[in-house]
């Protein structure tokens, strides 16, 4: 019962945290792009005279979208049309359940994992959910009875499916190295150090996989340079026929996916909630110095570390989004199938070979490191 309550609290925490982050994300994106472009950005919405650099604009956006008329175009499939955005947001949201955002901590004798759902095949779960998210997009494209939407939906589907493969294979290397599909374990495994001072993060042992993953993950988020499904100046996007909050949900799903990808990148390659040289008992620097910390501080540092990394990734994504032009469809496919996919495969092969060569399979590679 209490476990359930704890899980509920955690779920709510993640739910609201993520939603707020998404809202914040829109603000961040506006402000960041403004700064890049020598502009000011949204800054005039005020409550009681407070403007807070435009922080209220996302609020205004969401209130407005809630009160906007919802149009289902004539000829469209009403149910699917309504279901599509729900799918998108739902699957984007539930995926967060598997993301660990902090180390476990002890409360009243209970071990509380800072993860909504501890799933030992969390990675598979995440991929499954991501794949299901595609349905939202394709349903949207299909249900709208609009050529542009259909084209957008098709593009999105093809793109997400293609890149999911590269994405998946890129991660195989990571799984092989850390030997687990449980994300919490995976993060924990990254807490070690290589040669005593290099944190054993995914990026260190799997740099190629990281690049492939990042590219493929960006493509999953459907943002520039991979925003073909919604490339505004080519085809308006699969959600062309959506208005009001349904459109807002696609919008939200978009940001959620970005955050999700940032979370994944953090978790898989940047040590998740790990802080270099921080162990559960405190800092243990390679040069021997130590800084003992109490457990709550340790956990909080972990959560903070995770959040910061995620935000940095988000910023990076946005920086890319406002810097690059977009791909063409065939180029995108070529990049996915002829670029990322082989590289990822080779990466897996090389990783496997190295692991085999080191003959550590039986004893565990980690033991060898340690």
């Amino acid at each position: 019962m209490i476990d359930l309550a704890v899980k509920l609290v955690l779920a709510l925490f993640v739910f609201f945290g993520v939603l707020n982050l998404a809202a914040l994300h829109t603000w961040l994106e506006r402000k960041q792009s403004a700064l890049m472009q020598d502009r000011i950005g949204a800054n005039r919405a005020s409550i009681l005279g407070w403007r807070l650099m435009g922080l209220f604009h996302p609020l205004a956006d969401s209130i407005k979208m809630f009160t906007k008329e919802d149009i289902v175009p004539a000829g469209a499939d009403r149910i699917l049309h309504t279901l599509a955005p729900v799918f998108s947001v739902f699957f984007a949201l539930v995926t967060f359940a598997a993301i660990p955002f902090g180390d476990r901590f002890l409360l009243g004798g209970r071990v509380i994992e800072l993860q909504v759902a501890k799933i030992n095949v969390a990675l598979l779960y995440i991929f499954a959910m991501l794949s299901l998210g595609v349905y939202g997009v394709i349903l949207a494209g299909f249900a709208s009875r609009n050529n542009y939407a259909l084209l957008g939906g098709l593009r999105a589907t093809a793109q997400m499916i293609s890149y999911e493969i590269a994405l998946g294979i890129a991660i195989v290397g990571v799984i092989m190295i850390y030997g687990t599909m449980d994300l919490q374990e995976l993060v924990r495994a990254q807490g070690r150090t290589l040669a005593g001072w290099i944190p054993l993060w995914g990026i260190v042992v799997q740099p190629v996989a990281f690049v492939v993953f990042l590219t493929a993950a960006l493509a999953e988020t459907k943002r520039i340079p991979f925003d073909l499904p919604e490339g505004e100046s080519e085809i308006i996007g699969y959600f062309v026929e959506y208005s009001g909050m349904k459109f807002g949900m696609f919008f939200l799903a978009d940001f959620l996916e970005t955050i999700l990808v940032a979370c994944l990148a953090t978790t898989l390659f940047f040590g998740g909630w790990q802080v270099p040289y921080l162990t559960s008992s405190g800092f243990q620097f390679p040069w021997g110095a130590t800084l003992p910390l109490s457990q709550p501080v340790y956990v909080l540092l972990g959560v903070a570390s995770f959040s910061i990394k995620v935000v940095i990734f988000c910023l990076l994504f946005m920086q890319l989004r406002w810097t690059l032009p977009r791909f063409r469809y065939d180029q995108l496919m070529r990049l996915g199938w002829l670029g990322l996919f082989p590289i990822a495969v080779v990466n897996v092969l090389v990783t496997a070979s190295v692991l085999a060569l080191l003959k550590v399979r039986e004893v565990g590679w980690l033991a060898w490191v340690g």
């Binding site: 502009r39 604009h57 906007k68 008329e69 009001g244």
Partner: protein, 173 residues
């Protein structure tokens, strides 16, 4: 009806009005010269995003405000009308530039003499093309109008369209 409820609803309306005025997704129906100033308004020197109106949506379904930017010809008029009809409520129309306000000096066979002859217009921004300052002033006025309406859901009945002032003996166009 109790006073409290009225107060609450009115505050709610006010909040909705507030949100709507600071979240203007525009549909830029750009056709002509005014588009250049529209660009200038959107870009760094004027930055229409400061007013919360920086996000153009190229789908009329998602847009709140239809910016009709540039001359509308007779050939284009049905398209404009259709776009307007496709927009979701609540919606507003900004007529950007004199060609859309009144037809301007293209008083000939090809052009529509003001978009208000086919769709209701909320704000007229004259100028040929209007300097970005004109546009921002117009946007502020539009925001004031949106706030003033503060009715949830429906827009007020469109104003009666202005009749063309034709003297009885003038050549009937």
């Amino acid at each position: 009806m109790s006073g409290d409820a009225g107060f609450v609803t009115s505050r709610l309306d006010e909040a909705v009005g507030w949100a709507r005025k600071y979240s203007i997704f525009q549909y830029p129906f750009v056709t002509a010269c005014c588009g250049m100033e529209y660009m200038a308004t959107a870009c760094s020197h004027y930055d229409i995003d400061r007013f919360g109106a920086g996000l153009p949506r190229f789908s009329p379904r998602q847009a709140d405000v239809l910016f009709v930017v540039g001359t509308i010809s007779q050939k284009m008029a049905p398209v404009l009308k259709r776009i307007y009809d496709q927009m979701a409520e609540p919606k507003w129309v900004v007529s950007f530039g004199v060609c859309t306000c009144t037809g301007g000096f293209y008083d000939n066979y090809a052009t529509l003499m003001g978009i208000d002859t086919i769709i209701p217009v909320d704000i007229y921004i004259p100028g040929c093309p209007p300097r970005p300052e004109y546009v921002l002033d117009g946007l502020l006025k539009l925001q004031a109008k949106i706030q003033a309406q503060h009715e949830s859901g429906t827009r007020p009945a469109p104003e009666p369209r202005p009749e063309l002032e034709l003297e009885p003996w003038m050549p009937q166009r």
